[in-house]
């Protein structure tokens, strides 16, 4: 076993490279800048392209253009940049452009605290697009997750032609950590699917048995049309309500019906009456708290979500089956707990959160469980 020592941000960059990402564009912003730095170091010598845009809007715009031209593309920013990405994110959602977007969250609101962590963008990532259609959000807890979930993020973006977020946090992205890269299990790499030979390419046509259009790159032999307007199969504007409804419903369905396949999680001691549910860096304190409680003879279950959106309803309900009480811990003032309350209607759902730049400690979690 040989260990490397790197930040979560660096692990995301190396994961992206391994996933086949050859286009990156970003704008400097703490705590995400080291992704840009690392991509700039590793991509150009590999024949890839790494750009620093004139702003965040341009950075993601470059990525959308490159993705439509056939390259796997990624961008990275923090909360203030996600705000600026918003309109382009809606474009990627509605027009099915594969892209991986990393949000290394900092303490908000607004420019907030550049060098302090939080998980304050969790609902923003889901709902910060016009039209409100679903996106995929994955949450790493450590440097291993940063690498592994980046591979998965690219696969999901390619398969479902949608934006996939990696909701990191300063405390994951800029914390250096030992990592055994060789020991990480790799999923098979997925690439966007061209139409089978013999089937004519129609930009947004849904072939039988599929929920996602086939992909052809702009610039190849077959003409490709892409548009941010409400469109029919050919990629021209449409005002036909039936056609519009079918398309909108499909954009929702293609992710909602598939989330069981990409509900990433960790769980411990599944049968207790009380279950802690958390995600991101807080996971690490929750694990310690769960160990302490077990040693004290008061075992609790722990469910760690690594897929937050779409909400992995089946996973959550299954893991919470034995629990009558669920304690949701978040590094914000209460966001995802609303989903848990909805999904686990009938169970007691408690919340403990903190948003002051400090990590939630194992002791705080233990107290929230014991005294709640």
């Amino acid at each position: 076993m040989a260990l490397s020592f790197m930040e979560g941000n660096e692990a995301i960059a190396w994961g992206a490279l391994e996933a086949g990402c050859r286009f990156f564009a970003g704008y400097p912003i703490t705590p995400a800048t080291t992704i840009l730095n690392t991509m700039l170091k590793i991509l150009p010598p590999k024949g890839g392209i790494c750009l620093q845009g004139e702003d965040e809007i341009a950075s993601i715009g470059f990525c959308l253009g490159a993705s439509m031209a056939g390259m796997k593309a990624m961008t990275a920013t923090s909360g203030p940049g996600i705000s600026l990405y918003s309109e382009q994110i809606s474009f990627a959602v509605g027009s099915e452009i594969p892209i991986v977007i990393v949000d290394v969250q900092r303490l908000g609101p607004s420019t907030g605290s550049a060098t302090r962590g939080a998980d304050g963008d969790i609902n923003f990532l889901r709902w910060g697009n016009s039209g409100g259609l679903p996106v995929i959000v994955l949450t790493p807890a450590d440097v291993n997750d940063c690498f592994y979930l980046t591979l998965q993020a690219f696969n999901l973006a390619e398969e479902f032609r949608c934006p996939v977020f990696i909701a990191s946090n300063k405390e994951v992205g800029m914390t250096r950590e030992s990592i055994d890269l060789a020991a990480i299990e790799r999923p098979a790499i997925i690439d966007r699917t061209p139409p089978p030979s013999g089937e004519a390419f129609v930009p947004f046509k849904i072939s039988a048995g599929r929920t996602v259009p086939y992909f052809q790159p702009i610039g190849d032999t077959v003409l490709v049309r892409q548009t941010s307007s409400t469109h029919g199969p050919e990629g021209y504007i449409t005002i036909d309500p039936d056609q519009i409804a079918a398309n909108q419903n499909r954009l929702m369905r293609k992710l909602h019906t598939a989330v069981d396949r990409f509900s990433f999680f960790d769980s411990y001691l599944e049968n207790s009456d009380t279950m802690i549910l958390t995600y991101g860096v807080t996971t690490r304190a929750a694990q310690v708290a769960a160990d302490v409680l077990k040693n004290e003879g008061r075992p609790v279950s722990l469910l760690v979500l690594k897929t937050l959106w779409p909400v992995p309803v089946n996973l959550i309900q299954k893991k919470a089956q034995k629990a009558s009480r669920v304690v949701v811990i978040e590094m914000n003032l209460g966001q995802y707990v609303n989903e848990i309350t909805r999904v686990l209607a009938g169970k007691r759902v408690d919340f403990y959160g903190q948003m002051d730049g400090r990590l939630i400690t194992p002791k705080q979690i233990k107290e929230a469980v014991v005294n709640g």
């Binding site: 703490t30 590999k46 392209i49 250096r176 702009i218 003409l223 049309r225 548009t227």
Partner: protein, 432 residues
Amino acid sequence: MDSLLNKDRPPVFCPGCSHKRITTALDKAFRNMGLKGNEVGIVSDIGCSGLFDTFFHTHALHGLHGRALTYAAGIKLARPELKVVVTMGDGGQGIGGAHLLAACRRNLDLTLLILNNFNFGMTGGQFSATTPPDAQVGSRFLNQLERPLDVCQVARSAGAPYVTRCSSYRKDLAAIIEQAIRFEGFSIIDMWGICPGRYTRSNKLTPKMIEASLGQLPPLEGVVAENARPEYGRRYRELAARQHPAAEPVKIEKKFDPPQIGRREVTLLGSAGQRILTAGEILCLAGLSAGLKATQKNDYNITVLRGPSISELVLSTEEIGFTGIDKPDVIIALSQEGIDRRKSLFGSIDQDTLIIQIPGVTLPPSQATIHTVNFKSSGIRSSDWATAALVILAKSNTVLTLQMLNAALEARFSDKSLSAAKDLVEKVKDSL
């Protein structure tokens, strides 16, 4: 060569709209160049100019208002052989101003057609960045307050190597467009035209008047000699090819046994410039050489050479959960502002905690074992104090050993900086 116009989707502009002429001229330019549909990408944004991509049988991307140049840049870099034409109105030019400036500075091989008709046609004739102050438009009096932008002068100052200002009624419009597309680099044509649906309903504007107005401006007809330089994409590929491949992440094998089993926590309290983060990294690399897991959580201000710098290190024979530290085994206290930032830490520690401090700093009261070391009087620079403190720990096999420390220095440094680091170790070993 065949027309690239989309026969199924003829232009839908208002009767008398100059955009129609531009559509025809663009098609003629494509034909004259012998371009096939799959050799061209049209990128458009919002407004009447945003309809252009639908009139042609080419690759097409229609996106957000003012952002067309951003998609075009991604497409062109991914597909250097594609001829990429961007259409934008005076509205897109205004809202996408930052992208326009950047495109001029970048000089990527794109052709930007600005369909300049002095107002927002589609949304009701509001004023744009080019509306004359004395025009009657849909923004009541607001256009009287702002000065119209001469996009060509702006483009020229921003470094565009090819700028043409012309009337959409020029007989040789197709040739003008063709020249711009043929130019290898960023080319802009500011095409003045008439919007019969909105602008000329309340303002008199004729092709002759456009010609007369243009005649009063300094002519710009293509190549801007002072901005001539290599095209961005070509240059990017040249420079990228010269970059050395990035080194793979350094891998450290377990070579030693750690001095302790379990979890050890070390907090470095110092200031920017004391290389606190580097020392923290060295300690973790030392841990790796003994097969330990390690985490390094840093805390510093947004200022660069000022302010406290804190590094929290965990080394453990087990997987590391929580990366925070509330009862460290060791505190290395090298500056008052670093200590002040973590005042609360001292309330939780007892005699099991070892503090290595420099003279002259004030620690909050605690039960800890304190070891004061005067690095300064031994001639050690403050940027080396944190690493020197690691040597002191290693001498007593606390958290790390000298072997582990040396392995870390060899993994982290090379050449001169490695020998300087090793000299430091010897010096501290012998004198402190």
